[in-house]
């Protein structure tokens, strides 16, 4: 493979990173209200959130992108491939992040809630000052491995024409007829992308563990 071949792959790399980061941020933010609804005291709200999470997770990512890009985009309001991919993957990330948050929340000992109640902290301050910082530490490793999974999932955006890594690989293999090398190279780039995320998550985890281990 020549340097000229690498150029489109590097361009695709940028889109993959942008899509991954964008979808993850959307998911991390939207996951919070979804979690609150999922844990609500009102049974209908709880049920609605649970159903929503189940439905989002039951439909494969590629189909979500198609529903948004072809289904909504071609009839209701026009949407660019990148925005459609961002919306679809963000939606899926929100459902998965809500579940990750829920898992972390359930790991907090109920004594923490009781102690906060005894101190008369109120529900809001209990969550922001006592529970959330502890839950964040628990959620971090699973959120990081989800981020890596999400990064690989962004490959499906190539099907609606987002010019990210997988898309560039596909183009390149059609032009050069050397599919084996090109796709091996693209695969390698995904692995390379996941290394810094895994490393950062380990560093952050070590730092947060050290903060509480006294």
């Amino acid at each position: 493979m020549s340097v000229a071949d690498l150029l489109p792959i590097l361009r695709g790399l940028g889109w993959t990173v942008a899509l991954t980061a964008g979808a993850f941020i959307i998911g991390a933010i939207l996951g919070v209200p979804l979690l609150v609804a999922r844990q609500s005291r009102l049974a209908p709200v709880r049920f609605l959130a649970m159903t929503l999470i189940q439905i989002i997770r039951a439909i494969p990512p590629i189909l979500w992108l198609f529903i948004i890009f072809f289904g909504v985009g071609m009839t209701l309001l026009p949407i660019s491939p990148f925005n459609a991919a961002l919306a679809g993957l963000g939606l899926i990330a929100a459902a998965n992040m809500a579940e990750i948050y829920r898992g972390a929340l359930s790991s907090i000992h109920f004594g923490q809630w009781e102690a906060s109640a005894a101190l008369d902290l109120g529900r809001f301050w209990t969550v922001t000052d006592i529970v959330a910082p502890q839950a964040f530490r628990v959620a971090l490793p699973s959120a990081a491995s989800y981020l890596i999974g999400l990064m690989k999932e962004t490959a499906v955006a190539s099907t609606i024409g987002v010019t990210e890594l997988a898309f560039q690989g596909n183009q390149l293999s059609q032009m050069t007829f050397r599919g084996l090398e090109v796709f091996a190279m693209v695969g390698l780039f995904y692995v390379l992308l996941s290394l810094p995320i895994a490393w950062l998550s380990r560093v952050a985890d070590g730092y947060l563990q050290a903060k509480v281990a006294r």
Partner: protein, 220 residues
């Protein structure tokens, strides 16, 4: 916006045909993938360095590269070596590799979760390594691995949607085709979504149930 009853009625045979292909690919990928995962798990734990290296390579590539890239690697890449295969075979090979890589980690973790005394007891009884695996480790290990394996099966079922990119006429391809010929994309894709949900949601509930049962077994 929503599909009419007549539309659903005319599309259904087409969509169900696609669903059937999706399910076939899922079944075959699991059938080949899980035993492959067991082999990889044993390979990673092997004493021989070359076996360990090869197994680790297969696991890391199978997990590290997106399933979509694996699929295209097999389908578009292999022909350049002179080996041409159909899209169905390519789908099964790629997804079985993917399954093997992920399940090898699940199986390895569950084998390692078995108390060390069990292995010692097997040695004390004079079982050879194969019998130890067959009668002592696997029956206990697979029980621990079952919920995770079932959960992964749902992901592979959803992963078959990626076969759209290699022109396998599975569920998403069929829905897309209906959309492009009738220009009723949204209703057609929605029908496909409902069919996916009809399989995935009950399956997820089943996995939850099995998980609780498995938890009970571990507590005893």
């Amino acid at each position: 916006m929503l599909p009419s009853f007549d539309e659903i009625w005319t599309w259904l045979p087409e969509l169900l045909g696609g669903l059937s292909i999706s399910l076939q690919v899922t079944a075959l990928s699991l059938l080949f993938g899980i035993p492959f995962g067991l082999l990889l798990a044993l390979g990673v734990l092997a004493r021989k360095r070359s076996v360990r290296g090869l197994s680790l390579f297969l696991v890391e590539v199978g997990r590290g590269a997106p399933a979509l890239v694996l699929l295209q690697f097999i389908y578009f890449g292999l022909p350049s070596t002179g080996l041409t295969i159909g899209s169905f075979a390519a789908a099964v090979i790629a997804l079985a590799w993917n399954t093997g890589a992920y399940t090898s980690e699940i199986i390895r973790a569950s084998l390692q979760s078995i108390a060390h005394g069990q292995r010692e007891a097997a040695i004390a009884l004079g079982l050879n390594r194969l019998d130890e695996l067959r009668y002592v480790l696997l029956p206990q290990g697979l029980r621990v691995a079952l919920p995770a394996l079932l959960g992964f099966s749902i992901l592979i079922f959803q992963g078959t949607s990626l076969c759209f990119t290699i022109a396998l006429p599975e569920l998403v391809s069929r829905a897309y085709e209906i959309g492009s010929t009738t220009f009723r994309y949204f209703p057609a894709l929605l029908c496909a979504g409902v069919l996916y949900a009809c399989i995935s949601i009950p399956a997820a509930l089943l996995v939850n149930h099995v998980e609780k049962r498995a938890g009970l077994y571990a507590q005893r």
